[in-house]
Point group: C2
Chain length 138, copies 2
């Protein structure tokens, strides 16, 4: 039996107001697994609240992410960025301003050895995002 914290409580903790749309949105999302897109979430929520607007879904997903109620798969979504640093390296990513700074592989420390991680998945390389707050944003 999973202990599900009441939504109202979750909102209080993260300092956001409770609305009907947000509650349903949150519950529907909890019922999905994997890594759904806003459109996919919208399609599901629409079954419960047919009048809901796509814009509301976007706005509230954004609000949930901002307030820390849930996470996005990657901070790098949006437009494509090309990597001009040919050295093996990783990234410091600011969760506020989304800025990206390179850190070279060695300065990160030893990464786990590449081994069998999943059935048949052929590992090429690791890409590590160190997520946090950059100097400017603090």
């Amino acid at each position: 039996m999973t202990l599900i914290k009441p939504f109202r409580e979750l909102c209080a903790e993260h300092g956001i107001a409770v609305t009907h749309q947000r509650q349903v949105l949150y519950e529907v999302m909890q019922g999905m697994d994997g890594h759904p897109s806003p459109e996919e979430i919208y399609a599901r929520v629409k079954r419960k609240i047919p009048s809901i607007s796509l814009a509301t879904v976007y706005k509230n997903i954004h609000l949930f992410v901002e307030s820390g109620v849930l996470r996005e798969v990657s901070l790098h979504h949006g437009s494509q960025r090309l990597e001009m640093n040919a050295e093996e390296h990783h990234h410091l990513v600011c969760s506020k301003c989304k800025s990206i700074e390179d850190i070279d592989e060695s300065s990160l420390g030893a990464l786990p050895k590449r081994r069998k991680l999943a059935d048949g998945f052929l590992v090429e390389r690791y890409s590590v995002d160190v997520i946090g707050i950059c100097a400017k944003c603090q």
Copy 2:
């Protein structure tokens, strides 16, 4: 003095044809640092080849990435994805089909200790993409 491998040679290695546009595009990109977007690259290339089309820039960036001439910052660009797995985990990302599978933190192995990584960057967490080829794509 950096040894720059001639572009023709690079193309031969990666099995793509040499054209004037590609050569200039590549050289301009080498002269940029950080993590430029296609639009930013386009703006620069336009100074050398004013008649170049944005579509050509996109197509050739895509070709470079596909053929391994250069890399993109993240395989997760595009539409936003939400994380429904509340456990601490990381991702197996297929470089062909871009599919994402979760692996929990423990199965990855010990990550380096969080320590001072850069001036004033406050580390919150690590997000690791294990990049490779999934079973289906092999």
